[in-house]
């Protein structure tokens, strides 16, 4: 015969087990869609009339150079066209009010878009703003959810939360690569469309990420090699330095390998290579090592301009001339440093690319097209033209980390963001 205490304990155990089972079953069937079923197409009006001349102007701004729209993937045209839509003052106020809020209502529609961010700098948060601004061109979108994530587990948790909350699309920069594959697949199984921008997640297909918008890294590496040979006139007897971002990151690995291929034909050699984590202390340490090594590099290459002022600083401290710099993205403070040296014996050649942030608009539009049942390829690679810096590139009235007009963020919004 069981004692009363044992009976209660047994009953509590059965109750707890039953509750857990019920929760598991509820979780498996939540989200409005059963796993494995393809969600029905959502009613979205993706017809968008645009003037090609206007789109051409937007594209030129986005790339920083004259770039014929005929060279663009077809699915990007609507994305760029919608970037030309002028927002009402109310919409600007809403965008600034909603920016970086965990959840916000941006319209009257039923659709819910989610985005997450792993780095809290203006470049990344401006990309998130772009997602919101592009979403505002769709009356069907009503809610935006934003999550700041520290690391992989919190990113995975954020995606799961968004899916549980019923988001229809998640549009984000994915710094965690294929480690996000399981959670993206779960999201897709629940009917959520996943699109990413900037940086390809290699080795994953459309079953993980519906569409990836990214700069074609190999082309960019080749283009940088062309600049070294043709614009700077460097030859086999010259050496350059390549500053990697995070150790072993696939983007830089691809950039460097295509760069080396291009340079093999009469170009300079990579005489110094160092990881920097794309961080300022990392670049400072790498430049210190470069200077100490005595390798007479004629150019320093890397794929993120934010920490590059440290290169100039280190060379100034060492009392040496700054070599030419080829970098990706735009950084107002760096442009200011470069422009202040024009016409002096401290000037140096600077080449850069567009900010890449505009890709978040394209990723949002691709997500909406997929939701509407349209056909969008798994990958949308974009070229990354290299731009020679010219006087006027520095915006003195804007903050140092202003990411550039190629970000396609309207002026009134960017001013509001930086105040």
């Amino acid at each position: 015969m069981l004692s009363s205490e044992s009976k209660w304990r047994k009953a509590a155990t059965v109750l707890a087990a039953g509750s857990a089972l019920a929760l598991i079953l509820t979780g498996c069937s939540s989200g409005g869609n059963t796993g494995g079923e393809e969600a029905p197409a959502t009613e979205i009006d993706t017809s968008f009339e645009y003037d090609e001349a206007v789109v051409q102007e937007i594209v030129n701004t986005a790339f920083g150079v004259d770039f014929p729209i005929s060279d663009l993937p077809e699915e990007t045209l609507e994305g760029f066209a919608r970037a030309s839509v002028e927002l009402t003052p109310e919409q600007v106020e809403t965008a600034l009010g909603c920016w970086k809020k965990p959840q916000c209502t941006i319209g009257d529609g039923d659709l819910h878009v989610g985005t997450f961010n792993a780095v809290d700098n203006l470049w990344q948060t401006a990309a998130a703003m772009n997602v919101m601004l592009q979403a505002m061109t769709y009356p069907e979108v009503g809610t935006i959810t934003y999550a700041f994530v520290n690391d992989l587990p919190s990113a995975q948790s954020a995606v799961r939360s968004m899916v549980a909350d019923g988001v229809n699309a998640i549009v984000s920069y994915n710094p965690f690569g294929s480690a996000m594959a399981p959670v993206f697949q779960e999201a897709q199984a629940a009917g959520t469309v996943i699109t990413t921008y900037v940086g390809e997640t290699p080795d994953v297909g459309g079953d993980v990420i519906n569409n990836q918008v990214y700069a074609e890294a190999c082309d960019a590496g080749t283009a940088m090699g062309g600049v070294l040979k043709d614009d700077l006139g460097l030859t086999e007897s010259d050496e350059i330095a390549f500053f990697f971002g995070t150790p072993g990151n696939p983007q830089d690995t691809l950039v460097q390998s295509c760069l080396e291929e291009e340079l093999a034909d009469g170009g300079p050699s990579i005489g110094f290579n160092q990881d920097t984590d794309w961080s300022r202390p990392g670049v400072a340490a790498a430049t210190s090592a470069l200077i100490s090594s005595g390798v007479p590099v004629k150019a320093i290459l890397n794929t993120y301009s934010d920490p590059m002022p440290q290169v100039v600083d280190a060379y100034d401290q060492a009392g040496e001339s700054v070599p030419a710099i080829l970098t990706w993205t735009e950084m107002n403070e760096f442009f200011g440093i470069w422009e202040s040296r024009l016409g002096t014996d401290q000037e140096f050649d600077l080449f850069y690319t567009n900010a890449l942030i505009n890709q978040s608009r394209l990723a949002l539009t691709n997500a909406m097209t997929i939701l509407a049942g349209g056909d969008v390829p798994e990958r949308t690679p974009l070229q990354l033209p290299v731009i020679k810096a010219e006087k006027g590139v520095y915006q003195a009235d804007l903050p140092g980390d202003f990411p550039g007009w190629s970000a396609l963020i309207p002026e009134d919004v960017i001013i509001g963001m930086t105040q």
């Binding site: 203006l122 110094f272 990881d275 400072a284 280190a314 060492a318």
Partner: protein, 349 residues
């Protein structure tokens, strides 16, 4: 009472003993000789000194901050977040203006004192585990920094006065390293010559011993945490000046390395006396080693591997050096009369 013979006393005075400080000094000398003459790197080239000494100076200062904590038997995992927060404070509170720099420095100091007090009270008064507590406070500091920084900063450059000052120096040696050395010397004087400092060391090294001699160990141990936070704050401010546009990645490199340099300097992680000079030499070793490997073209992975091996060897070395000394204090010669008071027990290390 029998006494050691005059010959034996003289012999023991002349006998060379390896101490952790001597080991790290020798290691530094060997490393410099290796890099200079075998690897062919000219460490004393003005170009190298001018770019390397700022990095070394910041490492020394942050290592010194960690040393105060390790002396209590704790570890401070919030150090990198304090460094990052200092950078953001320098930007936000100064607005990039020289006139606002004193205010920014005052805010930074107050914030450091608060962080030190919180850590100290949680750990020394409430008895929480230092590793877990500082992990938590580190997260709190990071979150607070993100909120405090806001969506974007209108000012992205520290005041020119700070920027210009950290670029000063003498004979290509950065003012940051000079400041670090001055801090180390002041710390040595404080812990050896000032009563408060000696009590701080006593309370940090042994709460029980300080209780027995009537020194309130809790307040001194909490003070150690506050001093550590303040010194870490100095490192963060100088780092902000060095970088000129500090961002959220400023403190990243200093989590593991700040512990490594203290251990290399001869500290035991369970607490005890910590040598500020040893910490300086530990920082020098680790920075020179990392720099030397980077110049030779080794990847980050290889350099981290070496840093890990060096830490393990350092821990093992400190442990081995401490063991013979402990054994000697209890050794008794069988053919001599047992002394009433064993002089070797009273020997201080």
């Amino acid at each position: 009472m029998s006494q050691l013979s005059a010959t034996e006393t003289g012999r023991s005075r002349l006998q060379f003993q390896w101490t952790p400080l001597k080991v790290i000094l020798a290691a530094n000398v060997l490393l410099v000789l290796f890099l200079q003459f075998v690897a062919g790197q000219n460490l004393f080239d003005p170009r190298t000194l001018s770019t390397l000494t700022p990095l070394l100076g910041i490492m020394v200062i942050i290592g010194l901050a960690q040393a105060f904590v390790i002396g209590t038997g704790g570890i401070d995992l919030s150090v990198p977040h304090v460094v990052t927060l200092m950078g953001i404070i320098m930007l936000k509170e100064s607005g990039g203006l020289d006139a606002q720099l004193p205010w920014a420095l005052l805010v930074a100091a107050i914030v450091c004192i608060i962080i030190g007090l919180v850590n100290g009270i949680l750990i020394e008064v409430l008895g929480f585990n230092p590793l877990v507590t500082t992990l938590a406070t580190g997260q709190v500091i990071m979150g607070a920094t993100i909120i405090y920084r806001g969506a974007s900063l209108n000012t992205t450059r520290v005041p020119e006065a700070l920027y210009g000052w950290v670029r000063g120096g003498a004979f290509s040696v950065s003012i940051i390293l000079i400041t670090a050395v001055v801090l180390v010397v002041l710390t040595v004087l404080f812990v050896r010559r000032v009563v408060l400092g000696r009590r701080l060391v006593l309370a940090s090294a042994s709460a029980r011993a300080s209780e027995l001699v009537g020194v309130s160990h809790r307040s001194y141990r909490v003070s150690a945490w506050v001093i550590a936070a303040l010194i870490g704050g100095v490192g963060g401010v100088l780092m902000a000046g060095q970088i000129a546009s500090p961002d959220m990645s400023s403190g990243g490199p200093y989590l593991l390395s700040s512990i490594v340099v203290v251990v290399l300097g001869g500290a035991v992680l369970t607490g005890g006396r910590v040598s500020p000079m040893g910490t300086l030499l530990g920082a020098t070793f680790i920075i020179l080693l990392d720099h030397g490997l980077a110049v030779m073209g080794y990847s980050t992975g290889a350099r981290l591997l070496v840093q890990g091996v060096v830490l393990a060897l350092g821990l093992a070395g400190v442990g081995l050096l401490m063991r013979p000394r402990a054994a000697k204090t209890s050794r008794v010669k069988p053919d001599e009369e047992q002394p009433t008071t064993d002089a070797s027990v009273l020997q201080t290390t």
